[in-house]
């Protein structure tokens, strides 16, 4: 049904896909597996028409096809359920089911639309909801199911589901599985992207693994074991990327007790000591980043207690955290990490404007001294501090986004995805800089969906799956296999 040959895609200097082949037959569920950053999302976006490949060929039903836009993908019979929700909250459920569908007709009455949406909703277990209500009245999980209903309504020949179960609970996951099976039985070719190995074994016929922009020949799922699968996904990595651990762990700094917040389904407890690096491993939607957002003052704490240096710590805005010496670096540096149109000096001094100014005037000398000190610590070219942050590579931007916080001399540094969008060389450097900071007594709490990163960098590791902490323990007792199993399929480990 669908064939992709030698597809390649690069973003600037970063190679996302180098050489990918994919074959999906009609009536087959093809699981697409790979670590974060392996290139799965890029591949899926190319099929959905959201990105264009640099080279390679795509054939559908034996005929070569050019997928230039989401509309063309749709015309080619490709339907796509994105990882990010594509449900418009203000529209009704029925409208969302048929959203983007040009074939329903120009004239449409709300009641007939609702009637036509009903069977599709019923097939995904939403039969008893009123399709004329606005979608925002429903939970994230129900909205995710509406996306599947949309997929069903389009009677696609090829369906792509990109982590459709990330936000769902067991019951809802079962509904998705049933829908996927029915679709396959009706002759649809399905590409199923997931991090949950359980679903791979239950649903898929064959598995294609993507690693570092390359695809492996598809393997029949029945011939696979969990361990073998994990090994194929992980491959072999360069271990010297990570700096040696420095066990200079000091007093208790952060005590999190029985904390529940948005994104967690059961309470979390842990202790972080001065000079310690605690890594939370988990995929999108696993809750690994939830507590980080509370500590940064972005989301409220529902229940539980947090103390920092013995004092209660309940930040309500980011400024509260900063005042308490807690620095937060989000996973989206383009959005809130760097000022792309300003130079590095201004970027690095942004959190310390008050310290490098006197009587309301900027103290240029103090600012320069300060930024040069930070730049030296993070190995940023001192002579290039006049450059715009937006002109730097991803790795250097990340160094700026992290380095600016060193200036406030924080006691705790919180980092989401420390090396997202950073190439391999710069990664090792960032790891080294972070480790060097812990030697000065800084405690670092980070969350990452990269197993190797958590394993190689952290002193203590917590693993997350579906809003729960699976386990937390010393890194010495962990292996890549254990972490990967915890974050993809903890039932097997138990």
């Amino acid at each position: 049904m669908l064939q992709m040959r030698n597809v390649a895609k690069r973003y600037g200097a970063t190679v996302a896909l180098e050489n990918v082949n994919l074959d999906v037959k009609a009536g087959e569920v093809m699981a697409l597996l790979g670590e974060n950053g392996a290139g799965k999302s890029t591949l899926v976006k190319i099929l959905a028409g959201l990105e264009q490949p640099d080279s390679g060929a795509i054939a559908i039903g034996g005929k070569p096809h050019n997928i230039g836009s989401p509309a063309q993908a749709r015309a080619a019979g490709i339907s796509y359920v994105a990882q990010e929700l594509s449900i418009v909250g203000t529209l009704s459920v029925a409208e969302n089911v048929f959203l983007g569908d040009q074939t329903v007709g120009l004239l449409r009455s709300p009641s007939s639309l609702a009637r036509r949406a009903k069977p599709f909703l019923a097939r995904i277990g939403l039969g008893d909801i009123d399709p004329s209500l606005p979608a925002e009245a429903f939970s994230v999980a129900e909205r995710q199911l509406m996306e599947i209903a949309r997929l069903l309504s389009r009677e696609a020949r090829i369906a792509i589901l990109d982590e459709p179960t990330a936000a769902l609970s067991e019951v809802e996951i079962d509904r998705v599985k049933t829908a996927v099976r029915t679709l396959a039985e009706e002759g649809c070719a399905i590409i199923y992207v997931t991090h949950r190995l359980g679903e791979v074994f239950e649903l898929s016929h064959r598995v294609t693994i993507i690693r570092n922009g390359h695809s492996f020949a598809p393997v029949a799922t029945s011939s696979l074991q969990v361990d073998g699968l994990i090994e194929m996904m992980l491959g072999r990595r360069l271990e010297q990327m990570f700096p040696p651990r420095a066990p200079s762990v000091g007093d208790k700094l952060l005590v999190v007790e029985d904390c529940l917040c948005q994104g967690l389904s059961s309470p979390v407890s842990f202790i972080l000591r001065k000079g310690e690096m605690l890594g939370l491993a988990g995929q999108v939607g696993s809750g690994a980043t939830a507590i980080l957002k509370v500590l940064a003052g972005l989301t409220p704490l529902y229940r539980g207690s947090i103390t920092l240096d013995g004092r209660p710590f309940t930040p309500r805005v980011i400024r509260d955290s900063i005042k308490m010496g807690v620095a937060y670096c989000s996973d989206d540096r383009k959005r809130d990490g760097v000022f792309a149109v300003r130079n590095l000096v201004e970027n690095l001094s942004a959190p310390v404007i008050d310290q490098v100014s006197r009587f309301g005037l900027m103290n240029r000398r103090a600012e320069t001294t300060h930024t040069q000190a930070v730049a030296q610590q993070f190995n940023i070219d001192i002579n290039g501090l006049g450059r715009l942050a937006g002109n730097l590579s991803g790795g250097n931007q990340q160094k700026v986004a992290l380095g600016k916080w060193i200036g406030i001399s924080p006691s705790l540094l919180i980092v989401e995805e420390p090396t997202r969008g950073v190439d391999v060389g710069a990664r090792a450097e960032i790891y080294r800089h972070l480790r060097a900071q812990t030697a000065r007594g800084l405690a670092i709490l980070f969350a990452s969906s990269d197993t190797h990163e958590v394993l190689g960098l952290a002193d203590t590791i917590g693993t997350f799956f579906q809003g729960e902490m699976v386990q937390i323990g010393s890194a010495d007792a962990m292996t890549a296999e254990i972490i990967t199993r915890d974050v993809t399929h903890p039932a097997v480990a138990a």
Partner: protein, 321 residues
Amino acid sequence: MTSIAIARKSIGRRTWRFASLAAVATIVIIAVVAGLTTPAFLTVGNGLVIIRAASMTGIVAIGMSYVTLSGNLFALSASALGALLAVIFALVTAQTDLPAGIAVVLVGAVLAGVLQGVAVNLTGNPIIATLAFGAVFRGLASVLSGNGVLRIHNTAAAWIGTARPLGVPTQSWTFVFLAAVSWLVIRKARLGRQIILSGANREAAVASGLRVNIVTCLALVMLSVGVAIVAIFTVAQFSEARSNLFSGYDFDYIAAVLVGGIALRGGQGTPLQAALGAVLIALLENFMLLNNVSGGLLMTVVGTVVVGAISVFHLLQGKNR
């Protein structure tokens, strides 16, 4: 990030340099062409007329540029606030004396700026928030003036409005002084840095612990103070105030900011560019006036230039910053 985006960005940076250079170059070209074709243009008297015209627009445009630089587009209330402050100034000055009038107007300006800042922060839509405040300011101006003409007889005020120290009008001295100060504020002051960072990336500014909401308020306060200065000068010059003063001037202020080439999404540029934009527009207006070209054509040209400039800069900067 793609290399194209990077290339676009460096082009973008050059564009802004180019934009301010282009403004200066256009000013020179217009001056030369006008001087060659229109004898009345290159006289000292006309020069002073141009500078005074540019000053009154320019002082407000400098204030407006803080709002734009801080990432809040424009305020559509400047002209109405000007009328309100002019009326207040005339009332207070007539009943007490000049210093009291100036003090009350400045306090009123700060208050107006803070109130609008709060509204802008709450709504996230500066245009609508200031549009509403504009209507209220204009209405209050009518209420306070009884919709009539308020006259003042104050020699000190008259001096402020009409004096020409060293042959140059007080308005123009103030304009030059404020332009210099504004450059210092943006380049040297902490507040200027905060304005620039808030405009460059609001989310990142919040994440860095900047009080973006307060910065927005202060930007609007600075605009209001600029408006207050112009209101005082205008009342002082003509010794009268009316509630329909400055009617329709908002777009002159905005045009000056836009023609000066200040980045509309904030975070790039200096108030000096707005000052240059004001001079450029005043030159154009004067030249066309001397040649009996209609104000309509001028406005069309300015509007088209604005739309064109917005689009071209936007494209050069890359569609997705």
